[in-house]
Subunit: 199 residues, 2 copies
Amino acid sequence: MIYPKLLQGLIDYLKKLPGVGEKSAERMALSLINMDASEISDLSNILVLSKKGLKKCEICGALTEDNICTICSSDTREKNLICVLEDFKGVFAFEKSGKYNGCYHVLDGLISPIDGIGPDDINISSLIKRLENLNNPEVIIALKPSIEGETTTLYLKKVLENKNIKISRLSYGIPVGVDIDYLDELTLFNALNDRKDIS
Amino acid sequence: MIYPKLLQGLIDYLKKLPGVGEKSAERMALSLINMDASEISDLSNILVLSKKGLKKCEICGALTEDNICTICSSDTREKNLICVLEDFKGVFAFEKSGKYNGCYHVLDGLISPIDGIGPDDINISSLIKRLENLNNPEVIIALKPSIEGETTTLYLKKVLENKNIKISRLSYGIPVGVDIDYLDELTLFNALNDRKDIS
């Protein structure tokens, strides 16, 4: 073992983070060790506090410090427009875009028969209940174009139809900044299917 | 503010780590929040313990959990061969290579008149004391080829000469995996100067 045990332990923990390999974990651990003791104890506290203090909004499932998130408790958001997301990280992505003024509903997963995840294992019933109490609700399904994402979208479409709810899903297609010749076949196929009439 | 305050605090801390930008810090923070509470408290503890438990070896200055590091207290290392390094991270780099069986001496800095760092501000006197107690000592200076590195190397050469000590420095030259046409001028100049006779 090259590193002292404590340092190796820290490296092993950091390696669990997304996008952090052996080399970056080592650099990060050595840099952490070089921080002041006060900074280290601050970081250590904020880690525990974040885990303890952050919970899911009782209405939409977004990450929040209160029982109800700032979006659900805001007066200026459109309450009858609900964007359905796989997990709470999507909320931050939408909020960053600054282009959306509706509310959210986090499913906390996708239907995946292979993994034994059915409609009852994700937050679909709470979505239906929410929609029943809204006036002229509109649902935007924002799930990724994978088998699980599309299965879930189809399921939602089925359970929400005939309820006078406007339903749409995000368009699938070419992301910004990518050359057509580097696109995978499925994305190209989706972009073709979702093509927009500009005539 | 898009993120809850606690989460933003965590992101701000993670951004201080080397190689971690806004985007990676966000991903890492969200992934940390998703860990089990027990894992979080483990990580938090190990952070504080690492900072408290790791200190500098009293002989060579390498990072260790004990007063004397495993290298200095080992019976199988060559005690009269000393590799001089700028900081303790270099020790791990050498140990990983597995090609070196001597000991180390960490200077904890380089001479830098511009920054007001003189020979007395780094661990040079302790190196001289160590060498005086050794039989036929040999010193390998492993400092980077920068102004500070070369100034320090020259200074060490001056204070150690006429003491019957064999002194060498690492060769400067072309790193593995780099195309010649991408090399900076100084590296190329150094590689030319340090060229090896193979006739």
